[in-house]
């Protein structure tokens, strides 16, 4: 828990430093002041660095304070729920164009519902998957004129 708590400010400090270096390495402008594109992000990264360091010390002061949400995110079936939702989303991105909207959506929504709602509620899952996939296809493609694959 302590490692997770402290890693966030450290990550922010690292991000600010990388952002600062990247700002200084921005290409020079051919028009006007050559450094003009750099000033805003560089100033921003310096302020961000200062706040990240303050945040680091704030967290250090409260290192023993429990964050119940971090505990919850790591316990029970929560990590799996989050992981699979993201994984199914990534798979959806890959199958969306090759399989077309309707088929890929039926697979994606069906998989999500069976995983989240449980396979014992299979009838509800199937009805919701099929009806919602068709409704969304009809609403977006036919009524709203969105070009879907």
């Amino acid at each position: 828990m302590k490692t997770i708590k402290m890693s966030i400010p450290v990550l922010l400090i690292l991000f600010s430093i990388i952002f600062l270096i990247a700002s200084f390495n921005l290409p020079k402008a051919n028009l006007g002041n050559p450094n003009a594109p750099m000033y805003f992000p560089a100033g921003l990264s310096i302020i961000m660095l200062i706040f990240s360091v303050i945040y680091f010390f704030q967290e250090l002061k409260n290192i023993h304070k429990e964050n119940q949400y971090i505990r919850q995110i790591l316990s029970g079936r929560t990590p799996k729920l989050i992981g699979f939702t993201l994984l199914f989303g990534a798979v959806y991105a890959f199958i969306f164009n090759p399989l077309g909207f309707l088929l890929s959506t039926i697979i994606y929504l069906g998989a999500l519902l069976f995983y989240i709602n449980g396979s014992n509620k299979w009838l509800v899952n199937i009805i919701v998957t099929i009806s919602f996939s068709f409704i969304s296809w009809y609403a977006f493609s036919e009524l709203l004129g969105v070009s879907l694959p």
Binding site: P37, P41, Y69, F96, L112, F132, L144, V146
Partner: protein, 504 residues
């Protein structure tokens, strides 16, 4: 007030197609706003794609209807389940839920709907009189004033995240950093695109918004999805007694204008408006001990106030192009996508659009009070729908919405990245509104800053050169010290209370 523009706007708002969108938007907003954990910003973010094929006037009318629909909806779950749809509905749990527990769910729902309606109407009237003078005033703003106004808005929204200001600032910085990605419009230099052509136009803020609000919220709700218990509520007759009305009418009429003014202020929003509405009412009440135990006034006041704030928040958005809250920031993003540029010129160039919107808010509030009272049975049934079925549907809507932005599935990955980012922001208790606001106004803030400096040959003195800019600077500094002042006042009050209890 320009009467002919007002009448033109009224006739546009009364077109059957726009009335249809007001009703659909109000209903959809109510439904999404009602779902525990999902508030108006999520409602607008998820439903943005519906507006893309529409003409801009109908789109803005629909979005506004979704917005205040969600404000109505947020309190349904507060009253019935003690789980507010979002921050602005928290105050409705204080007395709304105890009323429902005492078997007065019906009257509580009716009072909340009527209070929201009256609050909304008071605010729309305020809007009619305040918007044009403010737009005219904003016309005098140059780049320096605009930069300072954006700075004030951002500082105010950060300062209001009391107790987590450092996190608020960091969220704001991250938003501003994300806004720097893409081609610099003044010099044509590619910044932080990592060589990916997809980022040349920057990171689409709507993807960030949908990711953080829709996917992030759903992932966050997974934390206790298995603990969510169903609570069946008997609603009964959705109306109130004469006595309940007598007790509520003044709190409603008092809290409406308060909420409206708070909504107009940058950074403040429905949450603060409803809290102030509630505490003010409690302070002036003759029976403050009844509050929190089901006092009808304690429900009426915040409900009137938060809905008035939602209308008030549209004023800085439309007159100056500066969103004052997370939800209006989402709306600004969608409006820019539709080619509408909110700001003082909108009132000059497209008065029909603005007045159609204002009139649609009158009609929308009427439609919503009818929806919320007549369709209460349907709404309660929707509230019964298991979250485990609703969340996958919301995730899917987020994907479809993202696809309609650029017709590219690459953005699906970005959506997931920002979804997980949103989850961590919530888990680590970072306020999200400063990030979203900074992301949306960031690019323009930088451009205004550079234009101001350029026009003064590199001198920063331009930011102190006019009365308006000095006022804005002073307000920014004051807003940053606001939490400190609150802390000192609280400390002094506690000390006084301590001394009083010791002496007694």
């Amino acid at each position: 007030m320009d009467v002919s523009s007002f009448m033109d706007g009224l006739s546009i708002a009364l077109e059957p197609v726009n009335i249809m969108w007001i009703v659909i938007g109000g209903f959809l907003g109510t439904v999404v706003g009602m779902l525990p954990g999902l508030g108006p910003a999520t409602a607008v973010a998820v439903l943005i794609p519906i507006t893309f094929s529409m003409n801009p006037v109908s789109a803005i009318i629909l979005m506004a209807a979704i917005y205040y629909g969600a404000m109505y909806g947020g309190s349904r779950s507060s009253i019935l389940l003690n789980t507010p749809g979002d921050g602005s509905a928290i105050a409705a749990t204080f007395d709304g839920y105890p009323m429902a527990q005492k078997g007065q769910a019906g009257p509580a729902l009716a009072i909340s709907a009527v209070a929201s309606f009256i609050g909304g109407i008071i605010a729309v009237i305020g809007f009619v009189f305040l918007a044009v003078p403010l737009a005219n005033f904003a016309l005098k703003f140059g780049p320096a004033e605009y930069f300072l106004l954006m700075l004030l808005t951002l500082s105010a929204i950060v300062a209001l995240s009391i107790g987590k200001m450092v996190k608020g600032f960091l969220a704001m910085m991250i938003g501003l950093a994300l806004a720097t990605v893409g081609i610099d419009t003044q010099t044509g230099v590619y910044r932080f695109t990592m060589g990916l052509p997809h980022f040349s136009d920057g990171i689409d803020f709507l993807i960030v918004i949908i990711g953080v609000y829709a996917i992030g919220e759903v992932l966050y709700n997974f934390l206790n999805i298995d603990q969510q218990k169903k609570e069946k509520k008997k609603v009964g007759k959705v109306w109130f007694t004469k006595d309940q009305w007598k007790r509520s009418k003044w709190p409603i009429l008092r809290s409406g204008p308060i909420g409206f003014l708070i909504g107009v202020l940058p950074g403040a929003g429905g949450t603060i408006a409803s809290m102030i509405g509630y505490t003010t009412q409690k302070q002036i009440s003759k029976n403050p001990e009844e509050y929190g135990k089901g006092a009808v006034e304690g429900l009426a006041a915040p409900e009137s106030s938060n809905n008035a704030a939602s209308v008030g928040a549209m004023i800085p958005l439309l007159t100056m192009g500066i969103p004052g809250s997370g939800t209006t920031a989402v709306m600004l993003g969608a409006l820019i996508m539709l080619g509408l540029r909110p700001g003082p010129l909108l009132f000059e160039q497209q008065p029909d659009t603005v007045w159609a919107l204002i009139n649609s808010m009158f009609i929308g509030n009427i439609a919503l009070v009818i929806i919320n009272i007549l369709l209460v049975g349907v709404l309660v049934k929707i509230l019964d729908t298991p979250a485990k079925v609703l969340y996958p549907i919301i995730v899917l809507l987020a994907f479809i919405g993202t696809y309609t932005l650029s017709y590219s599935t690459i953005d699906f990955f970005l959506l997931l990245v920002f979804g997980i980012f949103g989850l961590f922001l919530k888990v680590l208790d970072f306020p999200i509104a400063p990030l979203v606001l900074a992301l949306i106004v960031g690019a323009e803030m930088e451009q205004n800053f550079r234009m101001a400096v350029l026009s003064s040959n590199g001198s920063l003195g331009i930011f102190f050169s006019s009365g308006v800019s000095i006022t804005l600077l002073v307000l920014t500094i004051l807003s940053l010290f606001y939490p400190l002042i609150i802390k000192l006042v609280k400390k002094r009050n506690d000390l006084e209370e301590d001394q009083m209890s010791k002496s007694s």
